[in-house]
Amino acid sequence: MIAPEIRDQTLEQLDETFLKMTSPEWDLALIGKPQDVLTQAAEARELVQLARLRLGNAALSDIRDKLIKNEDGLEEGRNELSQVLDMFDEIESALGAINSFLNVVARVVSLV
């Protein structure tokens, strides 16, 4: 496994190389070249793209793994905040229920 810094620098260089190899200037340079040169150029570009995919996946995978490690804290925070909201709902419901009950009692008391 290569160090992240070396991997990221290599990926940057691969990106630059890939852009050069997809540019109009590159295509112009290949005009009139023999088939074996064209084959080598095509293969080189294909391998550069494959390497980009691989190193890009390694870089994103690293970040993904760190994001996942942080999920417990986020879930805990979300759950605790939800509990506070639920508690407010329960208080309001309880007061509402008490209110309804007291109104019934008030009517009974007034009849006595």
Partner: protein
């Protein structure tokens, strides 16, 4: 006519009555002042959580666009090179497919994570925006009124000259509002490191995605310029009928890759906003600028999707 001097008991009762009324007035005034400060702080939480949900929603779409762009750039390269590759070399398409599937799986995990972050910001916003103080205050009012119907002494109870029934609702509202504000502050304190770390990772994720999108998109633009404009012009023979208009369209509608930089910057700005919130420096005037950066993500996605539709 003579007047009897005030008895000691009467003087004491009068003094207590004056103190009670003053105390009630001072406490009520202090409560309203505290309530106003609490409301401003709660509003900061609300604004920050709104920025957070806007950001995560945009990131979820960006992740999808990133996957499509990567696949398209890879397909374009394979199609261009195919005629010059040998059969053995062409078989490497399975390696490309394998890497793309890996990429999509990673992006899937990142998208799921973004949904979790979104739900965190949503519930934070729900608490900050909660109408519970007012609703619970009204409910408490209702209880006092209902009690008053049962026994008039409750209805007529006073502190000083002020009927209790008049301010139970308001005081309850203030107490619940303070509890809500305290819950938000407690959450901020408890979760500060988690959120800071999260926003640092979001910066890294967005930078990596944005960089790869930039190269993939530029490669597609390069291929189009080569294939449709430059090579037909250099070759002998007549130009395609639409050559001039295609050249104009290509040169004028160059995909602005500045949106890529803006998108990558959004996570950094969101973190700055979070640190400001934690340190009590969050300014509501900063929110539009933050949302503008987040909108760069949306703008980039729209441009990518527009380009994909043309293809």
């Amino acid at each position: 006519m003579s007047f009897a001097p005030m008895s000691k008991d009467t003087r004491i009762t009068e003094a207590v009555f004056k103190w009670n009324t003053t105390a009630v007035l001072v406490l009520t005034l202090l409560s309203f002042v505290a309530s106003s400060c609490g409301a401003a702080r709660t509003n900061q939480f609300k604004q920050f959580s709104q920025a957070g949900t806007t950001y995560t929603t945009a990131v979820i779409d960006l992740i999808d666009a990133s996957g499509s762009t990567t696949i398209d750039a890879d397909s374009l390269e394979l199609v261009e090179d195919r005629e010059h590759l040998t059969t053995e070399q062409r078989k490497r398409i399975v390696d490309h497919n394998k890497e793309l599937r890996t990429r999509l799986a990673i992006l899937g995990d990142m998208k799921r994570h973004a949904h979790l972050l979104n739900s965190y910001f949503e519930v934070l916003g729900a608490l900050a925006d909660s109408n519970a103080p007012s609703q619970i205050g009204s409910a408490a009012d209702g209880v006092v009124q209902a009690l008053g119907k049962i026994h008039p002494s409750i209805q007529n109870a006073k502190i000083g000259e002020a009927p209790v029934a008049n301010f139970v609702g308001d005081v309850t509202q203030i107490v619940v509002a303070h509890f809500k504000a305290a819950a938000l502050e407690a959450e901020l304190k408890k979760r500060a490191k988690t959120i800071e770390r999260e926003l640092d990772l979001q910066q890294a994720a967005l930078s990596a995605l944005a960089q790869q999108m930039r190269v993939d998109l530029q490669a597609q633009i390069n291929r189009q310029e080569s294939k449709d404009i430059v090579l037909p012009f250099v070759a002998d023979g007549p130009l395609p009928g639409a050559w001039s208009s295609e050249r104009r369209d290509l040169l004028q509608s160059q995909l602005s890759l500045a949106s890529v930089d803006g998108a990558a910057d959004a996570a950094r700005k969101l973190k700055i906003a979070f640190v400001a919130l934690a340190e009590g420096r969050f300014q509501l005037v900063d929110v539009p600028a933050l949302l503008s950066d987040i909108n760069e993500i949306v703008s980039l996605i729209e441009k990518v999707e527009g380009k994909q539709q043309k293809q």
